[in-house]
Point group: C2
Chain length 280, copies 2
């Protein structure tokens, strides 16, 4: 049997903020680093706000909409018109950043969602790398196929040097550019929404068991999954005392939905064993 997962409880204040607090006497469950969270977020989207420096005497920072693909190290690739302001700006001054934002659910506080700002230098993609850049860009932006061979468009790469990550209230840091380049987007990112929907539709009781017996919240009366990644998942646990965010680690890293299913089955069995032997 795999090692018992450890719980991590995060109180949810009225302000929607989260403050980390490890379980007394327990270990902190593994979770993605900010570098991994950034790679995952940037890989999950294909459009952001590109900031360049306006080629006017005032030199205002200039925000524009930009679609992007990614190279192997997570550097954004743009396909831009030579006529566009941001291209004209980049030709004069390579300094730029790309802001990528998680989708904000309807009615939710936009400042509680994740976003990453990748700062670096823009340069035209070298002729030798053009085919690869084109493939990467098209993969992320299939609707661009009709103009991908237009003559007055060029590929630009943003060589990322600094990264600011904000995962919501109280979860923010500067992320090392090398750590970002080497991090892997979470392999569960595309499946996460489906897993969460399934767990909340069909396995609410299992989640209550998890909170009661694996996360030492015996007074839990309801629970729902709010996030899942290769290392574990987060739930909102409801009790007479209020709501709390609870993180549990998987017994082993999961890279597919099937592995998540197996992990959840093992964790239910674990939780039932503990419930059966617990003092009344």
């Amino acid at each position: 049997m795999a090692e018992r997962p450890t719980g991590h409880q995060v109180p949810i204040g009225d302000e929607g903020g989260v403050a980390s607090s490890a379980r007394p006497g327990g270990g902190t469950p593994p979770e993605p680093s900010h570098a991994e969270r950034c790679r995952t977020l940037v890989a999950s989207e294909s459009r952001g706000a590109l900031s360049t420096l306006a080629a006017d005497p005032q030199g205002y920072p200039y925000g524009s909409v930009a679609s992007y693909g990614l190279d192997d190290r997570g550097n954004p690739l743009f396909f831009v018109s030579l006529m566009a302001e941001h291209t004209q700006n980049a030709m004069r001054d390579p300094r730029a950043s790309l802001l990528v934002t998680e989708p904000v659910p309807d009615g939710a506080d936009p400042l509680a969602s994740g976003r990453a700002t990748l700062l670096g230098l823009l340069s035209p993609v070298a002729e030798d790398d053009r085919i690869t850049a084109r493939d990467r860009y098209l993969e992320a932006n299939p609707t661009s196929a009709y103009y991908i061979d237009f003559g007055d468009f060029v590929f630009y790469l943003l060589d990322v040097r600094r990264i600011r990550y904000v995962g919501g209230y109280g979860r923010m840091s500067w992320v090392d550019a090398a750590a970002y380049a080497e991090a892997e987007p979470d392999p569960l990112a595309a499946a996460a929404a489906g897993i969460i929907e399934h767990m909340n539709a069909d396995h609410a009781e299992a989640q209550v068991l998890f909170c009661r017996h694996l996360a030492e919240r015996p007074d839990t009366t309801g629970a729902s999954m709010s996030g899942v990644d290769r290392y574990g998942f987060e739930m909102i646990a409801v009790s007479p005392a209020g709501r709390a965010a609870v993180r549990l680690g998987f017994p082993e890293e999961c890279t597919t939905s099937e592995q998540v299913r197996q992990a959840v089955v093992a964790m239910v069995s674990d939780a039932r064993d503990i419930a059966a032997t617990a003092p009344r």
Copy 2:
């Protein structure tokens, strides 16, 4: 009877672009200026990408998420934490821009949607203007009420000096800052989605009549409304030759849904009169 509305046909190419072409022999129907389109777009949203200049030695342009309200002249008002990067940046260098983007329908080409970049200078709101700024900000961001009186947050105003407007492919310009400040957001903006839905659900035949008899497209077989503003509306007209965008002006400016309803009734009557007298 009001003067007959004039038609304006815009062919829709495969590339999704639009090229303006006035009706031969007819006037160009009135439409919002780019200054008005910008004011409407910026007033319809409450969140954008704020670009500031990073306070690091490299001086990268730095994009961040920012919620905003608007003052009387359409200058964005921000409520920012003193700890936030963009606030620190603005305290060192006031140059900034705010990018505001129209929502992109699922599956649509993001570069076909409208966006505006407001460039200017950030400064803290003076104490005398704080109450007004607070009211304006809260009106646009009701979910901020719980932290609106936090001590480590301050109001900033972006004094808009230059504006870049992109309404989609081929519709773009630099907009005069004074024209923007004096323009009015379209009074139909909030009602537009409902009007379009109603017209397309219940009045598809009327729209075919409009295209055939008011816009000189006698071969129209289907039509649907794609946009409406105080000066008129746009339809996609379908014929054996393909699809085309058609603009019609209202007989008189409409500032309420009820006035639109009356205008449409008058235009149906007009179109039927023309149909009845047309040579077979």
